[in-house]
């Protein structure tokens, strides 16, 4: 087990390192170095350029040094928790993001929980009641869920909420809590607002998960040991829970790894549509204004979250299935 854990940990580190290089390339992609763009912007607005500030930034990022040094500065800063400097806000990134990172984490966690909680009973029901009306109906809903892109779903929900209740369902908390420290009231408000975005983001993944859980469980249910157990008179519920379910759970856990990137993508665009105070809208605005360090930090954060989630799902899988740790 320990060896398996170690190997996975090393793989995760390597993946993160490669991703950081990719992200750094993306940061560097816009033509010219970003300081020149920044100075030009300031000049275009008729503001004077503060030479000491520019020197400070130039030195901070070592822009006069070769690329690999710059990369090293950026990455070692990330590891120390220094996320870089936002030009748009003229503040360190870590101050700009505030509790956006936490809210993103909460949203992500709630979504994964939602996917599991919804997909599991429905998948089991669909498999045990194959070709029943319930199964057909759920299958159809699942296909619709896969085909409807979640930002369109968010738009539809916004529209319906406006027509039916005359309210806006955007946001992640009551506006009065927006810039406040965490309190019980705020936490409660977040919980009240959380379910709509969680539903919207999670629905695609849930639909896919249901399909796969159903297929896996059906494969197991048709095997001979199930027939044998049934012939010996094992009660139906116990039979289902004790054997086929445990085998079918494997892909269920492993799947979250492949669903996570999808959830991340969905979360970004849905948060823009529903104006959630998570990393999504800020990533977008930073990309639009080419505030590349802010964007890079967010990109890195999202990727790291995904990779870490995959690592956790691997560990869970290893705990569940002895064959994997012995490999």
């Amino acid at each position: 087990m320990l060896r398996y854990l170690l190997r996975r940990l090393v793989t995760m580190m390597v993946t993160l390192a490669v991703i950081s290089v990719l992200v750094f390339i993306v940061i560097k992609l816009p033509p010219g170095d970003f300081l020149t763009t920044y100075i030009e912007d300031l000049k275009a607005q008729g503001e004077s350029v503060d030479q000491s500030r520019i020197d400070f930034l130039r030195q901070r990022y070592g822009l006069d040094q070769p690329n690999y040094v710059q990369y090293w500065n950026w990455v070692s800063g990330l590891v120390r928790g220094d996320l870089g400097w936002s030009f748009e806000y003229d503040q360190p990134v870590s101050q700009v993001v505030g509790d956006r990172l936490w809210l993103t984490l909460i949203l992500k966690f709630a979504t994964v929980l939602f996917v599991y909680l919804i997909a599991f009973p429905i998948g089991v029901y669909s498999a045990t009641h194959q070709y029943s009306w319930g199964d057909h109906g759920l299958t159809f809903l699942g296909f619709l869920g896969i085909a409807t892109p979640n930002f369109l779903l968010a738009l539809i929900l916004l529209y319906l909420a406006n027509v039916w209740f005359g309210t806006s369902i955007g946001g992640l908390m009551h506006p009065q809590y927006l810039d406040q420290a965490w309190s019980w009231g705020k936490a409660k408000s977040v919980l009240e607002h959380l379910w709509v975005p969680v539903f919207v983001i999670g629905i695609t993944g849930t639909a896919g998960m249901i399909r796969r859980l159903r297929a896996n469980l059906l494969d197991e249910l048709n095997k001979q040991y199930v027939t044998t157990a049934r012939a010996k008179g094992v009660p139906e519920r116990r039979l289902l829970l004790k054997y086929p379910m445990r085998v079918a759970l494997n892909p269920f856990i492993a799947d979250i790894g492949s669903i996570l990137p999808q959830l991340m993508s969905g979360a970004v665009i849905v948060s823009v549509v529903m104006s959630l105070p998570t990393t999504g809208p800020m990533l977008l605005s930073s990309l639009q204004s080419q505030d590349m360090y802010l964007a890079g930090s967010f990109l890195m954060f999202l990727a790291a979250l995904t990779v870490f989630g995959m690592f956790l799902s691997d560990v869970a899988l290893a705990l569940l299935d002895p064959r994997i740790r012995l490999e």
């Binding site: 529209y159 993508s265 964007a295 995959m310």
Partner: protein
């Protein structure tokens, strides 16, 4: 009960070497080529066939958009800003007078400052068919003004309403299809080439090369796609012409899509390499180009086309999402995502819900590609 037949014994001499005679149908069935068998199997998947027809019609429509759209893409009807959809009707006061619309009467509500349009039921205006309407430049080459359907003389026909500049939504939707439907095709072409080459290298050489490519694919697949697409398209220079941006976006979409295809190629190659007919061909002295071209490619091509079909909707959605967020295509290029970008805020949706209509073709096309790909994947292996 019917009478039992007498036990029949043929009195012809028995000759085990005699060829079994087959009826022409049976012969056609057994001698069908792989593609014929796939076609036969595909036809059984009814939803896939319907989807194929829907897609064919959509793609055919983008060839003659200029004729189909009642208005030009850029025609502004300044008196009809945010006009609601007009319904085509057939019966006026109980009598059939052919397809017509009621003209819209415009008034400004002084209290809410809202534009209000009322259909005027007193004077029906007949729609014109095969007529001369807005001027256009057919595919940017030939000037013309022929339309299949035109608004009535001195009247309007906004079947799906108008936008904030008074442009007809239906016409814009039809023109938008030209961009939205082709983005996926160009993107998939790029990802197809990359997938075959990289997957082919991994599958053919195996060993270390394979392991390395596998790791790269794993890393790429663990990245959330949309943020990366966003970042890359944000890096496209702002002074590029619309057509360059279009190709830039398709390249970005294709660049991140190949890992799935490469994986499919590789696994298929690895399993085929050990198959009897490939081994036999090698034993008989077939050279690698012969083996690849004659045995391997035909075998995994069908699979590949099926999985490519399944990843086209992802690209169409990707472009829609990018343009919707304002980082993809920009006006004057019109795609469904660009149209949807107008429906981004709640106020617009609440007041002018028809701005959401471009999502209907997006969903229909996505579903159709999914079903078609499903059917093709089932048909790709006709020997099962």
């Amino acid at each position: 009960m019917s009478e039992r037949l007498a036990h029949y014994v043929s009195d012809r001499p028995f000759n085990p070497a005699e060829p079994v005679a087959m009826s022409p149908e049976l012969e056609r069935y057994y001698l069908a080529s792989q593609w014929q068998m796939m076609w036969r199997r595909f036809k059984r998947h009814k939803i896939a066939v319907v989807s194929a027809i829907v897609l064919l019609l959509s793609y055919a429509s983008i060839l003659v958009t200029e004729f189909l759209a009642p208005y030009n893409l850029h025609t502004r009807n300044t008196e009809f800003i945010y006009a609601p959809p007009q319904r085509p009707r057939l019966f006026h006061e109980g009598s059939f007078i052919g397809p017509y619309v009621y003209p819209l009467k415009y008034s400004l509500n002084m209290q809410t400052l809202k534009r209000e349009y009322e259909p005027d039921h007193s004077q029906p205006q007949k729609l014109r068919f095969f007529c001369s309407g807005d001027d256009y430049n057919f595919w940017g080459l030939i000037l013309g003004s022929f339309h299949v359907l035109c608004p009535p003389e001195k009247g309007t026909a906004f079947f799906l309403g108008t936008d904030r500049l008074g442009r007809d939504m239906l016409s814009r939707l039809l023109y938008g299809a030209r961009i939205s439907l082709t983005v996926g095709l160009v993107g998939i072409a790029i990802s197809f080439v990359l997938g075959i080459v990289i997957g082919g290298i991994a599958g053919f050489f195996g060993g270390r090369t394979d392991a390395f490519i596998q790791r790269v694919i794993e890393i790429l697949r663990s990245l959330p796609e949309l943020p990366l697409w966003l970042a890359l398209s944000a890096a496209l220079p702002a002074n590029w012409s619309p057509i360059l941006v279009y190709f830039g976006i398709t390249i970005i979409l294709g660049l991140l899509d190949w890992p799935g295809l490469a994986r499919a190629v590789r696994s298929k190659l690895l399993s085929l390499r050990q198959d009897d007919f490939v081994v036999a061909s090698r034993m008989m002295g077939g050279r690698p180009p012969h083996i690849i071209g004659r045995h391997l490619v035909p075998n995994f091509m069908s699979h590949l086309i099926a999985s490519a079909t399944l990843s086209i909707p992802g690209m169409i959605l990707g472009e829609t999402a990018l343009s919707f967020l304002g980082l993809g295509l920009r006006p004057p290029i019109t795609s469904w995502g660009v149209l949807l970008a107008e429906a981004q805020n709640v106020e617009a949706i609440a007041l002018y819900p028809w701005l959401l209509l471009p999502m209907v073709p997006v969903i229909v096309v996505t579903l159709a590609f999914n079903f078609l790909g499903d059917g093709m994947r089932d048909a790709a292996d006709p020997y099962h």
